[in-house]
Symmetry: C2
Subunit: 149 residues, 2 copies
């Protein structure tokens, strides 16, 4: 038996996947350009962004960024050379090094975020109900997802 007619046509998974890909491209492009304005690569921008929440050991950082631990050495080396992060020996385990943002590093990541004009404008254009709905749908759809941003 036929269902009740809908106002909106059905959206299939393939369509949503495609839209998700487009959305990711737009967001990532905005992020990459904002990072470039701070003379940062996308990976460096992501790293600083993760560290904005607080210090993290090299290993933890690698896990958060979904890359091999050996990559972190060079990545953090380059950021440290520019004075954006600092390595600090862990007080409790002498094998561990904690990485933290310097004041300059904080400034850089904040500036990066502030210059993501395209995405910011797009989100600002939504009204309160729409923002709440989008928040709810994204949370439910990607709940528990590892943060690779």
């Amino acid at each position: 038996m036929p269902g009740i007619p809908r106002a909106t046509p059905r959206v299939d998974t393939a369509q949503l996947m495609e839209l998700l890909a487009t959305s990711l491209g737009a967001y990532y492009g905005d992020f990459t350009e904002a990072a470039a304005r701070e003379n940062l690569t996308a990976s460096q921008g992501k790293t600083l962004s993760v560290l904005r929440r607080g210090p993290a050991a090299m290993r933890v950082l690698a896990q958060t960024l979904s890359c091999d631990a050996s990559n972190m050495t060079g990545l953090i080396d380059r950021l440290e050379k520019r004075g954006l992060v600092r390595r600090e020996p862990s007080p409790t385990d002498r094998r561990v090094k904690n990485v933290l943002l310097t004041a300059e590093g904080e400034r850089a990541v904040d500036a990066l975020r502030a210059s993501m004009h395209t995405t910011t404008a797009a989100l600002d254009a939504l009204d309160d109900d729409e923002r709440a709905t989008l928040h709810d749908l994204l949370t439910r759809t990607f709940a528990g997802a590892k943060d690779k941003s």
Copy 2:
């Protein structure tokens, strides 16, 4: 004057940006892992995905992927060596080379998409209304965005 109390608390732009980063990061992780199962890098997966819509000149491909034209040479070289794409001289402009998927290339990109289980399952869990709403919100938020997927 205070507004009418809302059932859902207000979601600010910074929160939505963070959630967007997490959600799209989850999508990207799923894509990257699916590409790896086909022995493809994320960039190679994106390239094949774009070519799935039809042939494109080197230059156009570079624009679509938001990278410099000089990168395409090596990228397409590697895919061509594996028999996933093919270069074909343009009949109308002898400077131009059109790139197209081989049958094996089509198989690879289709397999890649089919193995994005995490994202597929997440989207399948939404009901029709929710899917339509998500589609609407993402479209409006990232409308007219260049496809860099």
